[in-house]
Symmetry: C2
């Protein structure tokens, strides 16, 4: 081998920047102060996006750059085709029209709840190709590595004539995508509801923005985090009591994240009743990473909550949040500033417990929300629902999961709790021998099965039967026995042996309600601090303004 | 149990915001357009910081808000005392003067390299109390949960008269700390080198900033990522060849993070020589998350590198980076935009390989840079040097670490590589029976030993002896045997049995240079594409301007 060094090859180092300038020059005659007349949007997209481009389209978990997505669906596929879409949530019909029309070809995404059946169909028809399915922050991570967007189509409430943006309460992912695009010479196009002279505050500097366009109507956003307490049943009150008595209290859980199910809403709603009676106010559930759940209002009003940092916002909660700045992260203008990446970071590394629900769990506590025919993805759960092995700081709760057997090099662990009923509505068992995700993954030729939370990351499973402290179990067999002990009469639960379960209860590995001093008869809806949306409004002093569909009066 | 709901207690929900307004009012007579004359800084800090406050002081890995830290060290401890300092890097003498004078009492931090002996001493003297030691992003995560700062003391290059900030290339942690403070009613005080009418670009909006002060001199920043190729020896060239031939090539590593040691610098420097001869250009090492290492210049100039996203910057690399916008993330003004949180996210979730060095490794591949008497912390390594269990997307490299034995619910893994010489300079073995970190942790009453990278996260250990593919080993005993096989004549290495090692080599679990077709005689400094700082400057076409201490001409 020689040691001849390659010589530098003469080349341009500004191809990305030059290309951006070229494309922007094509639309500059239409711009005034960087503002594009909305009638020009389809023309502009045709000039700014080239075939095969990587395009980040803001379809967040909540807010949608829908004026831009509807406009993109109207471009001429002879001009713009085969783009590679980066989108966290495939949630609007036109997102998939892009594939039907050949405008887009490949997609990297995190969640496709409402459109998951169509995603599966388009995949089968060969019109859509999946790069990968991610948890949110992974997708954003790759936007700074090998998936930097050439064009970003974003969404904000207001812009001024310098391109500065005010996102309003749903800041969500806009700053992150804007940063990935703007600083690698991507073209940043933003739809806004309104163009004003002076912004309430600046969320994203105008230096990062190339084109602003006022949308035909305010951006779309769904109240995804509103759970009507009327739909919470006694069984959910029971599991909520168990979680508080059997986990939050003994482990000393002060910082946490809740999923969006009715089961966790029940926990939020019995803090001011059951939690208060246990004398736990100020001792648990002080610092939260979650969106402004309406069902958290009674706990906030009762003085349980020190702080809430949010991924996004929630429709109808704007005035309430603005009136509670001691609790929420709000700007000098008074309105919420959310930030999905930072809240996911906080939810991963800064809190001691994640609790969420799922659709299926297997004997090893692997779980997934992917069921047959659906390619739903996972959103943010995998990032928070695992033990973050990069964590180096200790807390009381985290240390309680330390295994003495590990010797001097040992560490604690995050509490990852799965909270389910043994049977789903409709009579399907939650505990199954094999997750549907395995068949779905194999049918869709995915490299691995789309598992949401891996069993080896789960510390606790809670059902109406009891709590399985999986982290206390010694070995796989004992772990499976503990899970079976709370799996009711599902195929997995039927494997439980009474004498084994009795032993696990004695050793504190399994806890039934009676082991926790909870009588099932106590577990009544009457324990809910609010039993209707109307109650929540009352608790909020009239500040919470629920969307029409949740109003019953 | 009754179900009486607690009633809302009348209280103020704006105590944080009111307190902020009260404090700012006290200094407002001194401000003009939010700008404080520098002579007033000590008075202002005395008015704005109250005893016991949580104060985030920007001591990043690189840039230092040193005008503010020097000023803070001058406040009257009768007025400001017992503050709780949040600081990522304890790196300047005055950081510890704060504790000696009683101005600060408690600290949460990530890294204390140059000051680690003094930290240990102050701890022993009872003048300093450690909250926890973190990896960077964990500490920031908690700033959005239970460690929100009441005051943030930050650092930028320029401000305009609206408080908008231009950070320059060392954006680092400023946007993140500013966001945590500004949106929870913390007071944001920023030192700048210069106040101008028009900024090159805006990195942080003025809406987030309360007080700007022009520093007495430009903020301090050290060239921490500059490795002079003259100090790279043949042994490091050998290990670099092994990494390329034995890991990067067969695993197909396209996206990666490198630590800052001479061993990884050697890899960077032989890509254009050894790497090119293997025909690997374009096939490996395309997308990087790391600071602008000068030793990466030859690989960039030879066309190996598609992109580099940076945590911070590097002194002297400004003009070079600005001239290579196809590769680096730069703003519309042309200069680098870095961002530690986003780059850590990219390094955690968006790349397939982390490779770094350490001071000690035990038989189970646990490692630490904490050695006797020092409380150094870890900086960012733990966040990138672990298998991120929240990852759900697959890549070729990641899938190669999948274990078939895991059945249908299986996943791949990140490559976490430790690259060390079996003996350190000075003749101390790198491989030890027990990490010093265990004694240090126990002496300092830390809840767990300060381990930097846990063995169960390590996929490969590389020494001058060979590569241990730990992820391929079956069971703990085989894993230990593989590690021993590359641990040379250290106490751990002496446990290796020749026949066992031979078997591990046959099975591809251990690879010695000859197994990879590498002759030790090839491994010469002559393979380095640059053998001096001067060579690096030449490669850069004169754009790299090394700091004086690195100049030999």
């Amino acid at each position: 081998m020689t040691s001849v060094t390659e010589q530098p090859v003469p080349r341009s180092w500004t191809t990305l920047r030059d290309e951006k300038a070229r494309r922007l020059a094509a639309v500059s005659p239409w711009l005034e102060d960087g503002i594009l007349p909305k009638e020009r949007i389809v023309d502009a997209l045709q000039a700014l996006i080239h075939p095969g481009d990587r395009v980040a389209l803001e379809g967040d978990n909540q807010k949608q750059a829908d004026f831009l997505s509807r406009s993109l669906a109207q471009v001429d596929p002879e001009i713009v085709s085969g783009i590679h879409l980066l989108i966290s949530s495939i949630s609007r019909p036109e997102h998939l029209t892009l594939f039907e029309r050949g405008i887009a070809r490949k997609v990297d995404f995190s969640f496709a709840g409402p459109q998951s059946l169509r995603v599966a169909q388009l995949l089968e028809d060969g019109l859509l190709e999946i790069g990968s399915i991610y948890t949110y922050v992974e997708l954003y991570a790759r936007m700074f590595v090998d998936l930097t967007p050439r064009v970003a189509l974003l969404c904000a409430e207001k812009a001024d004539r310098h391109g500065n943006l005010y996102t309003g309460a749903n800041t969500e992912d806009t700053p992150t995508i804007a940063e990935a695009a703007a600083f690698r010479h991507g073209i940043v196009i933003v739809q806004v509801n309104e163009i004003v002279d002076t912004l309430p505050r600046v969320d994203i500097p105008g230096s990062w923005v190339d084109v602003v366009v006022q949308a035909d109507r305010p951006f779309a956003v769904e109240p995804l985090f509103t759970r009507d307490p009327r739909h919470i049943g006694d069984l959910q009150v029971l599991t909520a009591m168990m979680v508080i008595r059997g986990i939050y209290e003994p482990y000393g859980i002060t910082s946490l994240n809740h999923g969006i199910g009715f089961d966790t809403a029940a926990i939020e709603l019995i803090l001011p009743t059951y939690g208060a009676e246990l004398g736990l106010k100020g001792k648990i559930c002080r610092n939260w990473t979650l969106n402004p759940h309406p069902t958290l209002i009674p706990a906030i009003e009762s003085g349980w909550v020190d702080s809430v940092h949010c991924f996004g916002s929630e429709v109808g909660m704007e005035a309430y949040v603005a009136a509670r700045p001691d609790v929420f992260f709000t700007g000098s203008d008074g309105s919420l500033r959310s930030n999905r990446v930072l809240c996911q970071l906080a939810g991963q590394y800064g809190v001691d417990l994640f609790i969420g629900s799922t659709l299926q769990i297997d004997a090893d506590a692997n779980s997934s929300t992917v069921t047959r025919g659906r390619l739903a993805g996972f959103g943010g759960a995998p990032n928070m629902g695992h033990d973050p092995r990069g964590r180096r700081h200790a807390s009381e709760a985290w240390l309680k999961l330390m295994k003495a057997a590990d010797g001097p090099v040992s560490r604690g662990s995050k509490l990852v709790v799965q909270l389910v009923e043994t049977y789903k509505k409709g009579g399907e068992p939650t505990f199954v021998d094999e997750l549907d995700a395995i068949a779905v993954g194999s049918k869709s030729a995915m490299p691995i099965a789309p598992v949401m939370i891996y069993g080896d990351d789960v510390s606790h499973v809670v059902t109406e039967e009891g709590i399985a402290h999986l982290h206390k179990a010694e070995g796989i067999e004992e772990r499976r026995a503990a899970l079976a002990a709370v799996a009711g009469v599902t195929p997995i639960g039927l494997r439980a042996k009474p004498e084994r379960t009795a032993e696990l209860r004695r050793r504190g590995i399994v806890a039934y309600p009676e082991d926790l001093g909870i009588r099932r008869a106590q577990a009544k809806r009457a324990l809910l601090a609010a039993r209707s949306i109307d109650d929540l409004v009352a608790w909020s002093g009239g500040l919470y303004a629920p969307p029409a569909r949740f109003r019953s009066w």
